[in-house]
Every structure is written in structure tokens, then in C-alpha cells.
Amino acid sequence: MLIKRADPIKPSEITSEAVYFNRRRFVQSAVAAGTLMLSGVACSKETATNTAYAGPGAGAASAPDSSSASFVADALGKLQPSKYSTREKVNSWEDVTTYNNFYEFGLDKSDPARNAQDLKTQPWSIDVSGEADNTGRFYLEDFISPHTLEERIYRLRCVEAWSMVIPWAGIELGQLIKRFQPTSKARYVEFKTLYDPDQMPGQRRRSLNWPYTEGLTMAEAMHPLTILAVGVFGKVLPNQNGAPLRLVVPWKYGFKSIKSIVSMKFTEKMPANSWAVAQPREYGFYANVNPQVDHPRWSQARERPIGEGLFAKKIPTRMFNGYADEVAHLYDGLDLVKNF
């Protein structure tokens, strides 16, 4: 016998909503009372892997003390829960921050946590251009501050057939887009990641066409499930997770959720997203999670839940990653086999 057997997950281990919000209230009142002893809770490896995530507030007290991300940290202190959050068991901080696909920092999933630490995320600005009335260059702070940060606990399904449950903190992209007043010509939004080979060693090789580019239809971008995240676990987003600003589209494969965004462009034409350009037969523009449409080289019918240990079985993948009720109508009349 080589490896320790992990206990199977019992339904009782999944935090119920009542307990979750109770804990939230307790933590918030503790923070309000000035009890900042919770600092570092989610930072410490042991507690993070062995203790269930306690909800927003727990992390707000332990935001990094660098002033760079202070406005995000302040906003995280007022993090609001959301009806869109799943009640499924949240992955550990360790899982979420050490198992990352972020090719700008290396191809191995452990590379980003090692190589992204020196990425300078302050000051950070985003260029908004294209078919909109209110375009220009915006500081991240101006992007985020008019909005209330919400915690969105979403499932994340990677095209590589693994999944996690992650408590993001962010704003609805649709709310932000309204401020730019897109014109009637705007049919898509195109996003780009920072291109800076000095800071992003992975960009020194052409493993993908840099800068990483992604896109959504306007309907997808305006959908209330679509968010721009600045935090995770109630803390400022770590660099390896796409700091300081990333997209999260929970019903699509993970590669759609572009990281470290520096550009947003409203376009009439469908943007050419990096993976679809690299392998047009294997990755499409839509990339909706769909257990019936296999990747040419592997099945998408099941997924491996990350963090359940060596002996966990794969679980069935759900249509639109379980968000079919909310988003299926966006694709009425669209052939999902052709438009994969």
C-alpha cells in the first residue's frame, strides 16, 4: 500500500447555507469589533488545507499590507454575498493558488505560483476601446470602485477535464459595460492579457500567440453570471490567479476566463481567441462546458474534482457546468456541436 486513503466526502461535510451565513456574520462582527486575530488564516498552508473556507470577511482582515492593493482590500471588506453562489464545498486556498494554467508564467501548473510573484500589478490600467461612446484608459480603481464587490462561489471546469469550486470576489461585467455605453455596432467584447516578456517569462516562447486574447458575445458579457474578479477567498487576487483583474465565466471552460486584463474592446467581428487560433480543431470561440461534445482527443463527459484526494472518483460533467437554467437560452438555435 503506497498512499494514504482519503476519507470519502460525506454530504454532511458540505457547509449548509445556514451555517455558511452564520459563520459569515460571526466573522464580520468579529472584524467589526476590531478583532484582527484572524490575520493570515487563509495564508497558512495548514489551516487552509484542513479548515473549510469560512466565507468573506475572514480574508479581508488578512489582506496583504502592501498599500498597492489597498483599495481592493478596502472594497473586499464590504464584500457582499450573492444568490448566484453555489453551496458546494469550496476548494482549499492551496488547490486554488498552486494548480494554475497561466502559460505566461510557464506550462506546468505549479509554474505560475513560482514565477508570477514579481508581476507588478500597481499601477494598473485598462484600455477600453472600440464600439462604445465612453472609451479611454482607466485605472483599475476607477474600474472597480463605483461597484460593490460580490462574492461569487462558482464551479470552474477546465477543458482538461478537472474542476474546482472557487469563491471569487468581483463585479458583474455587465454593470461595468453599461458605463462605457457600447453602441449598436458592438456585438462582441475582446479582452487581452498584459504582454510583457520581462515580467512574464512564458511569453519569451511562442507557446501561444501573445498577448493572450479572449472574447465574449455581448449577451454573454452582459449576463449576470459573468464577472470581473479582483479577489478570491475574500483576499486580493494572487498573481498566479490573474491579478489584478480577471474574467470569470462559470459556464465556459476555464481558458475563456482571461487573466491580468489590460484591454477591453467592443467589436463588430468575432474576436480570435488564442486557443482557437492555436488549435482550431480542438478549441472554439464558445467553449461552453458540454459533456456531449468531446474534445477531439479526450472525453468531456466526466471531470476530476480537484482536492478530493488520490482515491476520489471522477464526477459527471453537467451541461453548461451546471448553469444551464441561467444560460441555455443564450444559445437557442445555435448548433453547439459545430460551435464548440
Binding site: W162, W298, S299, R304, L310
Partner: protein
Amino acid sequence: MAWIWSKTFSMSATASPAAARHRWGTTKKIRYVGKPLVFVLSLLPIGLIALRAFEITGTLGANPVEALMDHFGIWGLRFLIITLAVSPLRQVLGKPWPLQFRRMLGLFAYFYIMLHLATYLWLDQYFDAAAIIEDIIERPYITLGMSAVLMLTALAVTSPHAARRRLGKTWQQIHYLVYPAAILGVWHFWWQVKNDILEPLIYAVLLSGLLLWRLIKTRAHRSRINPT
């Protein structure tokens, strides 16, 4: 020329009693030092991953099944390449001792590939026969991997000296299967990589080099036998 010279040299060398004593020493060294040493070194990859699995040195990370499967798979491929490097090494050195290690190295390749397969069948698929059969039929890289496993199984079961004696010439023919098996192994690796093919490319280049070496040697050998 070099080949003939080395033949003559080795013949004349065995003729002298001093050289015979020396050869006896080499055999002993291989049996009591070399082989145990290579054996223990070959166990290092499984030892290192066991230390991670038991969380003595690090962990297997967020996706332990993938970590095990990748580790065993890559070491299977490495041992296969090392095994294929034995003959060229013997020719380069002009000494027969590397051949003494070939069977052990080949069996270690098989050992790691079996662990890779077991991880897939058990921890990845939980012996779900329907899913495994679907994978073999519909996922080309799994079809390739499984074919390689069948070929290598034929080599492994015919590896004892007794089997070699009994099979005679057929034995060599069976063992030529190592070449297609190694090609399928690299191909299997290549096809399951998402986009960046640098790592499988390295293995492909190494394997091509080793196969090319054999091709050139066989040609040279043939032209010596049948000068045209």
C-alpha cells in the same frame, strides 16, 4: 575497419591469460557492484514519488492522480530510451559490459509503464470497463499507449534466459518490437500534450537519434557482408 580491428583486438586480448583474469574481474564487478547499484538507482523514481505521496517531501499537489500518472509514464519512457541507448553505448565504448545491464533496464521500463497503466486503470478510471474500452477505441493516444503496452508485455514475458534459449531466432524477432513500442510511446506522449510540444519533441529527437544510429550501423554491416 574499426569494427574488424576491435574484433581482432578483443580476440587477441582473450587469448592472453592476464586479460582473462581481467575479464573475470569485470564480470564480478558487474555482478556484485554494477548491477545492485543500477537496481537501486532505478528504484529512485518510485522512491521519490512515494516520499511525496506520504507527504514526507512535499506533496503530490492538487491533482495527485495526474501527478502519479505523469511521473510513472515519463519514467517508463525514460527507461525505454536508456535501454535503447545500451547497444550504441557498447559500440561507442567498444566494450561488452553495457549489454549486461540491458535486460534489467528494459524490465524497469516495463515496471514503470505498468505502474502508469495501473494508475490509469485504477485511480483514473476505477476499472470502469465501459469507459476504458471507449477510451481505447475513441482516444487515439490511449489506443497508441495500449498497443505499446501489449508489445512490451511480449518482451517482458520472454525476458528470462530460459525463454531466450527456447525461442532461439524467434526471440530476436519478438524483441525487435521494442522499436515500434518506443515510437508509439513517444507518440502517445505527444498526442496528449495540449499545445506546447517541446517536451515530447525532446523524447522524439532522442529516440530518432537512437533508431537512426541502428539504421546506419545495419547498412554499414550489410555493405561489409555484401560489397557491391
